[in-house]
């Protein structure tokens, strides 16, 4: 043991994480009790997502994909079954523990951006670090880095109302990344964007994924899903299809062929 250096330990840990699933869902069921009727939203879902994967979840509305995303995002608990995040069972943790998991291990990107109005881009991005109780200097540094990563270094002091939809979504992505989560969860991130801006967002996702970030994306657009490495299709609360994406396009190259706003 004494022969192993510090850097080797880190390397081993990193390799270990790649081989181990980041998300492991075992026979998960979810019921909603709506008074008289009982809705069975998830009927036994089992799936493993390894570190560094880029998964698109598809399905019609009512297929259970939103419920599944809420479970993955620790916003909800399964009625039965297990959910292991980074190897630990989080399916029955209390609300406070789940809030801490959402804060540190997960990053959320929503369809409607959900930025706080009258709050600058930088302050929006800084928000998760406030709840992580990081020191002030580090908060600022991380927020600036995250904004640089999504290419908005020159828009830090802008308010959401002064930014385009694509820019707002990039601020939201920076906010999701600021606490360096293991997984990025995106719920219809391109739903409110035009096709070119959608591809721009997917380019950011692909770049982040190449950097090692695990991404789970919900979408109902096949054009968007094909940027992922793997698609999972839900229907009637069950996984119907789970397959790797063939002929995956590179968003960066596709952008070159697409007309810009000026054209």
């Amino acid at each position: 043991m004494a022969a192993i250096t510090h850097s080797e330990l880190i390397e081993q840990a990193g390799l270990g994480e790649l081989s181990r699933p980041v998300i492991r869902v075992e026979d998960v069921h979810k019921y909603y009790d709506l008074g008289e009727s009982k809705v069975h939203a998830l009927r036994g879902v089992s799936v493993e997502i390894a570190g560094g994967e880029f998964v698109a979840i598809m399905g019609a509305s009512g297929s259970g994909k939103s419920t599944f995303m809420n479970l993955l995002g620790c916003l909800d608990k399964p009625s039965s079954g297990r959910y292991l995040l980074d190897g630990t069972d989080v399916s029955q943790r209390d609300k406070k523990a789940l809030a801490a998991i959402r804060n540190r291990k997960l990053g959320f990107v929503f369809q409607g951006f959900n930025l706080l109005s009258r709050t600058t881009a930088l302050e929006n991005v800084e928000l998760p670090t406030l709840y992580a109780r990081l020191p002030k200097q580090e908060r600022l540094q991380r927020a600036q880095e995250a904004l640089q990563l999504v290419g908005l270094a020159d828009r830090m002091e802008h308010f959401p109302s002064q930014l385009s939809g694509g820019q707002q979504q990039r601020v939201a992505i920076a906010r999701a990344l600021v606490n360096r989560p293991s997984i990025l969860l995106a719920d219809e991130p391109t739903g409110n964007l035009d096709s070119r801006t959608s591809v721009e967002i997917m380019q950011i996702f692909q770049t982040l994924n190449e950097g090692g970030l695990t991404i789970v994306l919900v979408t109902h657009e096949p054009d968007i899903a094909r940027f992922a490495k793997r698609t999972i299709v839900f229907r009637d609360g069950k996984i119907r299809r789970d397959e790797p994406v063939k002929e995956r396009p590179r968003a960066a190259e596709l952008l070159k062929t697409m007309p810009t706003v000026e054209d």
């Binding site: 809420n70 916003l75 809030a99 406030l130 709840y131």
Partner: protein, 406 residues
């Protein structure tokens, strides 16, 4: 999340609806202002009463004729005629707690000077009376011991009498006619104001030697009252007991029989007056307190609206890692900031309106630092109390529902 960040968020949230925040604060401003002003008025009145009582002579006791029971018929106070000059002498000589005493008798009479006349109260006493009541002359001198001995026709007039009879004229040395008897004015008393206990004008009076009053004006050989000063403030109760024992003995009142006189201690009167002004202060403060509570309800109302409006924001905050406590603290601090800012503005409002009240109405208004501190603490308390329910409601939101909220 650190307090500074929460405060910044709270300030931003409040400044988003400036008009709404200002109106909500107005409730607290009025509440806190009213508490400070009303307590100020109450305490000012209390101090005025205290001052008046100490001006009356704080060590003073007042012995008067008592009630009498004649064959089952009980007459009111002051109906007995048993208090005599020798009782006064005995009190001075035999009661160790007594410093001085002065006899007193009175009548009312029409007083004439030149073309003017005035109906007033004529009191007969001895020179030490003015000392006991700490009532100095404004002009001239008091009548003397020898005036008393010789039953001289000299008078000392009160400020009200002077104003009504003489106006701008110099009263000293002039002759007034009391019930058609000529009296020479030797002194004018300084203004004493209204009496604290009864509210009557103490300056509407003429003093003459007791002997002159008894022999030439009333013909009554008995005294109406004796004013006594105790050796110290603490000695007033001892003096009261000594005088009671002494007079019972002198008047041959058997044990079990009622006194035919009454000894009143001004400390008792002071206490009573103090108590009544305290009650008034409490009453005013509690009425003002009600307006503070109404202001608090305004805060609660606006916070509830705010929570509903910002449901989506709450959902986002929860999704990115805010715990229930984080959300609750945020809204609670927002409510407290609102009420504290209202409280701070309310202090200015309260102090300002106290000044205006004292200027316009001429009331003594005493703004105490304690009332200010209490108002601030209370307004923060109002923020916590009325902000708690909305904050709890925000914290209890389901993040999924909140995110879906339109």
């Amino acid at each position: 999340m650190d307090l500074l960040s929460i405060l910044r968020i709270a300030m931003r949230a409040l400044s988003r609806n400036k008009m709404r925040s200002a109106l909500t604060m107005l409730g607290i401003i009025i509440g806190v202002g009213a508490v400070i002003a009303m307590v100020g008025v109450g305490q000012g009145a209390s101090k005025q009463v205290q001052d008046q009582i100490s001006a009356m002579g704080s060590n003073m006791l007042f012995v008067s004729n008592g009630t009498v029971n004649r064959g089952g018929l009980r007459l009111g106070w002051g109906q007995t005629k048993t208090l005599v000059y020798d009782d006064m002498k005995a009190i001075v000589q035999q009661a160790p707690a007594v410093k001085e005493a002065a006899p007193g008798s009175s009548t009312t009479a029409q007083v004439v000077f030149g073309d003017d006349n005035w109906f007033t109260n004529v009191q007969g006493t001895e020179p030490q009376y003015f000392d006991i009541r700490s009532w100095p002359m404004q002009e001239g001198v008091s009548f003397t011991e020898s005036d008393v001995t010789s039953a001289a026709d000299v008078a000392v007039i009160g400020a009200t009498v002077r104003q009504n009879l003489f106006g701008a004229e110099e009263p000293l040395g002039q002759t007034v006619r009391i019930s058609n008897l000529p009296f020479k004015v030797v002194g004018v008393l300084s203004t004493k104001g209204q009496s604290a206990a009864m509210g009557q004008d103490q300056d509407d009076v003429i003093f003459v030697p007791i002997t002159t009053l008894q022999k030439k004006l009333t013909g009554e050989p008995w005294l109406r009252y004796i004013v006594v000063s105790a050796v110290s403030k603490d000695a007033t109760y001892a003096a009261q007991e000594e005088i009671t024992a002494l007079l019972r003995d002198r008047h041959r009142i058997r044990p079990g029989q009622d006194d035919d006189f009454m000894v009143r201690n001004l400390a008792d009167v002071a206490q009573l007056a103090d108590q009544s002004s305290r009650v008034m202060t409490m009453l005013l403060a509690s009425i003002a307190g009600v307006s503070l509570i109404v202001g608090g309800i305004g805060i609660m109302n606006i916070m509830l609206v705010s929570v509903t409006e910002r449901t989506r924001e709450i959902g986002v905050r929860m999704a990115i890692g805010a715990t229930e406590e984080d959300v609750q603290r945020q809204f609670l601090i927002e409510a407290v900031v609102l009420s504290l800012m209202g409280g701070a503005a309310g202090i200015f409002f309260g102090v300002g309106s106290s000044l205006i009240i004292s200027k316009l109405l001429g009331w003594a208004v005493l703004v105490s630092p304690l009332a200010i501190v209490a108002a601030v603490i209370f307004s923060a308390g109002v923020g916590v109390f009325f902000g708690f329910y909305p904050a709890r409601k925000a914290a209890r939101l389901d993040p999924i529902e909140a995110l879906r909220f339109e």
